[in-house]
């Protein structure tokens, strides 16, 4: 991709932020899952933005995602756990780091393999979200520490897989990276 202009960064951050908001508001962002709690993919726009346009864009989309989840938790709670997210320490702060972490990991791994870099960035960004949000819940004493590992296993890991798949497919399609035998035509 050619060097990205400032205006372009603003536009991409805004539109991807809107996707995050939309995924949350329409519940498209929640994939039903066996553990009862739905898998969420609302953080995937943050990862994609960070990979495409750099850490600052990722940070800003994370901010939009976080602030929106705060507002939604307060105005239109969708589930019981939403109550926790009315605290900006839980809903905003951890989300700021998703983008920068995903970008760093992507920059590191892409030198070896571009597609692998995308997948690892998806996993890393997603785990950043899971671990920091749950960690913050633990620190604030909402959830006992012992209850956290099962949540990470049951939700965090499938979420990481889901976000890696979506990141790879969307970014590969956007940057026209040919994947596999069919050169990407099967996705």
């Amino acid at each position: 991709m050619e060097t990205s202009s400032r205006v372009r960064k603003i536009a991409v951050a805004g539109v991807l932020g809107a996707i995050s908001v939309l995924l949350g508001a329409t519940h498209w962002g929640f994939i039903p899952w066996i553990s009862g709690a739905a898998l969420t993919i609302m953080h995937v726009p943050v990862i994609i933005g960070a990979v495409l346009e750099g850490p600052v864009v990722g940070l800003v989309i994370g901010l939009i995602f976080g602030v929106f989840s705060l507002i939604q938790a307060a105005i239109a709670p969708t589930g019981p756990t939403d109550v926790w997210f009315t605290n900006p320490l839980v809903s905003v702060l951890p989300r700021l780091l998703i983008g920068p972490v995903a970008w760093l990991v992507y920059q590191g791994v892409r030198r070896v393999h571009e597609v692998a870099g995308l997948a690892v960035a998806g996993v890393a960004g997603s785990l950043t979200n899971t671990l920091l949000v749950l960690g913050m819940l633990g620190v604030l004493g909402h959830v006992p520490w012992a209850a956290l590992p099962p949540i990470i296993w049951a939700n965090g890991l499938p979420e990481a897989v889901a976000s890696a798949v979506i990141t790879v497919v969307v970014v590969a399609a956007w940057k026209r990276i040919a994947i596999g035998r069919k050169q990407g035509s099967s996705i």
Binding site: V15, A18, L22, L52
Partner: protein, 273 residues
């Protein structure tokens, strides 16, 4: 066809138009007040302070003439879970086992410290929900964005792009309805070709695969939209925030300062009491 109506589900910025003193206040003052409020409620450690905070929020709702039924709707929805959380706080959290022991049975110990922690938890969340709702009820999104940009302006000296940040938020807010329409079109297109979504079975990969036919075009369409938007902005000579003037000039009136001082005072009191 209601399952395709994504636009109707987007309920952010529940603005209630009105002409109360709170509605007419400067958005900057309202933003600062909301921030001070959230910080105070999160930091508050005593029941008295929390009661003060709850009373002040109730007064705010009354001044803004927000119907109580309307304001309490979101609190009502969260209440069952709040109750559960409070019970857990009282019964399970060992850190709260301070104060006099009121009742003991097997591993369950109810102490005054535990009861206090439970009550504080419920009160804190109710006040937070009401405070954030109050801001969004009385302030339209346009005003909020304006206020945000002005508030961030002093940080521009430190290199923070205040104007750009506010613009990004604005683009995001304005894109949501457009993307919702696009999502609706995509879902209908997939459904008309026999695609199914929701209620799917299978592992994580399988389920993500079922979501991909919707997500990928949604993302790619959005990125294309961003590209066109950037091109259009550049073509019209957009150069960022420098030397930009505004159609609506914000002006802090004396009433705004008084209200802000009042709320800051109460916030400090809530933390210190």
């Amino acid at each position: 066809m209601s399952e395709f109506d994504f636009l109707g589900q987007v309920t952010i910025g529940q603005y209630l138009p009105g002409d109360s003193p709170l509605h007419r206040m400067d958005p900057r003052a309202k933003l600062l007040m909301a921030l001070a409020w959230i910080a105070a409620v999160v930091a508050c450690r005593s029941l008295l302070g929390m009661a003060l905070a709850a009373l002040a929020v109730a007064a705010g709702l009354w001044v803004a003439r927000i119907p109580a039924r309307f304001a309490l709707r979101s609190v009502w929805r969260a209440l069952p879970f709040l109750a559960l959380l409070a019970v857990l706080q009282v019964l399970v959290m060992p850190g709260n086992r301070t104060g006099a022991v009121l009742w003991q049975w097997w591993i369950v110990t109810v102490t005054t410290g535990g009861l206090l922690a439970g009550a504080l938890l419920v009160a804190r969340f109710v006040v937070l929900i009401l405070a954030i709702s109050l801001l969004s009820f009385t302030t339209g999104t346009n005003d909020l964005m304006h206020g945000l940009e002005h508030l961030l302006r002093p940080l521009q000296r430190l290199g923070l792009p205040a104007h750009e940040l506010a613009l990004t938020f604005d683009i995001a807010l304005r894109s949501v309805p457009l993307l919702a329409l696009e999502a609706e079109r995509l879902a209908k297109a997939q459904a008309s070709r026999g695609g199914e979504f929701g209620g799917a079975k299978g592992g994580a990969i399988r389920r993500v695969q079922q979501a991909l036919p919707l997500l990928v075009p949604l993302f790619l369409g959005a990125l294309q939209r961003a590209e066109r938007l950037a091109l259009a902005m550049e073509a019209r000579g957009y150069v960022g925030g420098r030397g930009r003037t505004q159609w609506v000039a914000l002006r802090m009136r004396s009433a705004d300062y008084v209200a802000l001082a009042l709320v800051l005072g109460i916030a400090v009191a809530v933390v210190l009491v």
